[in-house]
């Protein structure tokens, strides 16, 4: 039993899709969330810059006594997980492994699609993990650099012509190829689930990396006997590197609950 909080971080708001799932699965856990809103988006930046940012994000989170850190960011999970794991003495889990395993298990026709940021697609991390899991599965991938700006601007609902136009363009090759599974390889993308689902049709399984990651965290903490005390009511606190107001407004939409009271601004450059 371990009542220490779980640390979670992302470039901005996307990681909240994983937080929501963690709160649902593990209502007894305390969560410390950091969103690097002063430097979002991460997806188009170079590996060196991403490693630098991720180290600062982890250094800030480690000012708390945590039992584990969850990288609720597809970009950092695919480009900096190895560095972060090596440099830290607490468990650090990313989104790639559980999502890749879910995709490998889900596909019937052996054709998996992968969408993510430019850094994620460039890394090849999902492809390697899917190949290790199911060598016969073919992975078709494409970077979708406009999805994060769309989501961070609250443009993700069906009927939003811009979101639908961007999605139609990005997803066309996956429809043409006939994938039966599509990995939403960035934690921002689940907000676009309806738009993407309408585009791909009901025959295609969408893999939500934040949700798969949250389930894996629950299993791992259970396996380590490190879950919080049963019956306990967990609390979540949110930290951001830019304005609290801008975050609170959108975060409430992402989490479908008011978070204004628990948000604090952090000088991430100091870490």
């Amino acid at each position: 039993m371990d009542n220490r909080p779980i640390g979670v971080f992302d470039s901005g708001l996307g990681g909240l899709t994983a937080v929501r799932e963690l709160q649902r699965l593990l209502p007894g856990e305390d969560i410390i969330y950091f969103g690097d809103t002063a430097r979002v988006p991460y997806g188009g930046r170079s590996r060196d810059t991403l490693v630098r940012y991720a180290r600062q994000d982890v250094a800030f989170l480690r000012t708390f006594d945590l039992k584990a850190i969850v990288i609720a960011c597809g970009t950092v999970s695919t480009t900096a997980l190895d560095v972060l794991t090596e440099e830290n003495d607490i468990p650090i889990w990313g989104v790639v492994e559980p999502a890749a395993e879910a995709a490998a298990q889900s596909t019937k026709n052996g054709l998996v699609g992968l969408i993510g940021t430019q850094a994620t697609i460039r890394s090849g991390a999902y492809e390697r993990r899917i190949a290790a899991e199911a060598p016969g599965v073919r992975v078709l991938s494409r970077a979708c650099p406009l999805f994060v700006p769309l989501v961070e601007n609250g443009r993700f609902r069906p009927g939003d012509v811009v979101a639908e136009t961007v999605a139609a363009e990005y997803l066309e090759p996956f429809q043409d190829a006939g994938v039966d599974t599509l990995v939403l390889g960035c934690t921002h993308y689940p907000l676009l689930t309806e738009v993407i689902g309408n585009c791909m049709g009901p025959g295609v399984t969408l893999v939500n990396v934040g949700e798969k990651c949250a389930r894996r965290v629950a299993e791992r903490l259970g396996g380590m006997a490190a879950l919080a005390e049963p019956g306990r009511r967990g609390e979540s606190r949110y930290y951001v590197s830019d304005s609290v107001e801008d975050f609170s407004r959108l975060a409430s939409i992402f989490l479908r609950q008011d978070v204004a009271a628990e948000v604090t601004q952090v000088d991430i450059w100091r870490y």
Copy 2:
């Protein structure tokens, strides 16, 4: 006569639209350009964060012996010009004043449209300057937060369905209101000139803030007798906070010339 370089900075690539105009008008001038590509885009960030970033951008540029600094960024020009001017003992010029004056002079029907980033629209800086210039002119303004991500991703050409869909949505109120002048209040937007022009029609004058700013710089340096030696051939050097390769590729498109040789990466966090 003053052969010292002019410093120019922007959040990313947009400022190059002003650099191109400076190079055309003042071929004898040396230019030191800084693009904060590790933290682009600026437009959705809070004033505090923008002031911090702008101070670091200027501190880096001031490691060179400059005769003046040009803020080739609509967001910084509208939110941090006062702070930067107060803290520095060399001339610092932004894009607002020359563009606002051009708009006030251009409008025949007294209805000016203004598009910019969220920070720029929130600042009210263009409106104040236009009101000072021409009190009877009405300014209708709208933030266009997806334009910078589009441009930074090279999505700005006519025929790009996404760029055209986004533009049609953002510009509708200006068409409805019947503005005869539209200020492109961000140095990224001139790349979208054709898309925006097709949308607004030939009766609407588009004000390119980078171009107006470059002209004003030429006038001011002339007035201060601080232009470079006649017949001199100026050189431009480019600095960025993220990967040189990613910048060079897109910058060559923006400037319509190869810049790869003169680009250097800077640790902007140290300034």
